[in-house]
Amino acid sequence: MSTPATQVVDHSALKVNQTGIIATVLVAFVGGALFRPLLVLIPLLAIVLLLGTFAPQLALFKQFYFKVLKPRGIVKPRPVQDRPEPHNFAQGLGGVFLAVASIFLIPLTFLGLALALLVAVLAFVNVAFGYCLGCQIFYQLERRGLLRA
């Protein structure tokens, strides 16, 4: 059995990121019914997630955690021996889904909203139960040799 090559990942940063995704999608979803321009939050969130996947220093919610919440003791850190790649992959996947949702928002609003809602549901499942669908997809791709650590 190979020894996992892990590093320390602060799971509180991941939780804050997921909570940010849920909150933003909910604001866009509910607020969009009353004030349609709020739907612009969905493409903005897609950009934030995609940027954060490739440049962690641009991950808005994680930076908010590291620069504001953690130093002020509002959220306590939770370091876990883990690999960051599956989480980044999951975040990127969420970003891609939100980007597709953004494309659909104008011609088929309900479909764009449904896709965004699914991303929020998956983020909620991750926050509440620790189940990360993106990480499972990462495992399947790695198992088939399509991804290398």
């Binding site: 059995m1 190979s2 090559a5 449904a114 620790g130």
Partner: protein, 148 residues
């Protein structure tokens, strides 16, 4: 507002369909593992039997990409006490993982004293569930020892 309602309906249907698909998938995989004739018996790996007697044990499939394994499954396995846990890297030992149709991590397999799989749990299995399955496995071992 109607777009929001339609979106809720579509998302609800997708979530429901995914839940049904997952249930079907895990049941099918479990059936394949438990009903395969002959069952995929696995030789013991590592340490000697506890107290010189063969005991049921757990085959624990994990991987370094599995966070739930570290945050949930491993603490649950640690709570089981004296039970033997054989940890298997599902990526490195793909053949063994395929024998048990491991499609998700963590996966735990409760093995009987004879090395036959008795219970398969795809996804996180809490300690009480594993304890119950191990107790059943011990009863089965005693029965088979009595009839032998």
């Amino acid at each position: 507002m109607s777009a929001q309602l339609w979106a809720l309906a579509v998302a609800g249907i997708v979530v429901l369909a995914a839940a049904c698909l997952e249930t079907f998938r895990s049941r099918r995989a479990r059936r394949l593992v438990l009903a395969t004739s002959p069952s995929p018996s696995v030789p013991r790996r590592g340490a000697a039997p506890i107290n010189g007697e063969e005991q049921p044990y757990i085959l624990y499939f994990t991987g370094d990409s599995c966070t739930v394994c570290r945050t949930h499954q491993e603490p649950a396995l640690a709570r089981l006490g004296d039970v033997r846990v054989d940890k298997v890297d599902a990526i490195a030992e793909r053949t063994l993982a395929d024998r048990f149709h491991v499609y998700t991590l963590p996966t735990t397999v409760v093995m009987g004293a004879d090395g036959q799989p008795l219970h398969v749990n795809y996804g996180y299995a809490p300690a009480p569930k594993l304890e119950r399955q191990l107790a059943e496995a011990r009863v089965m071992s005693l029965r088979s020892a009595a009839t032998a």
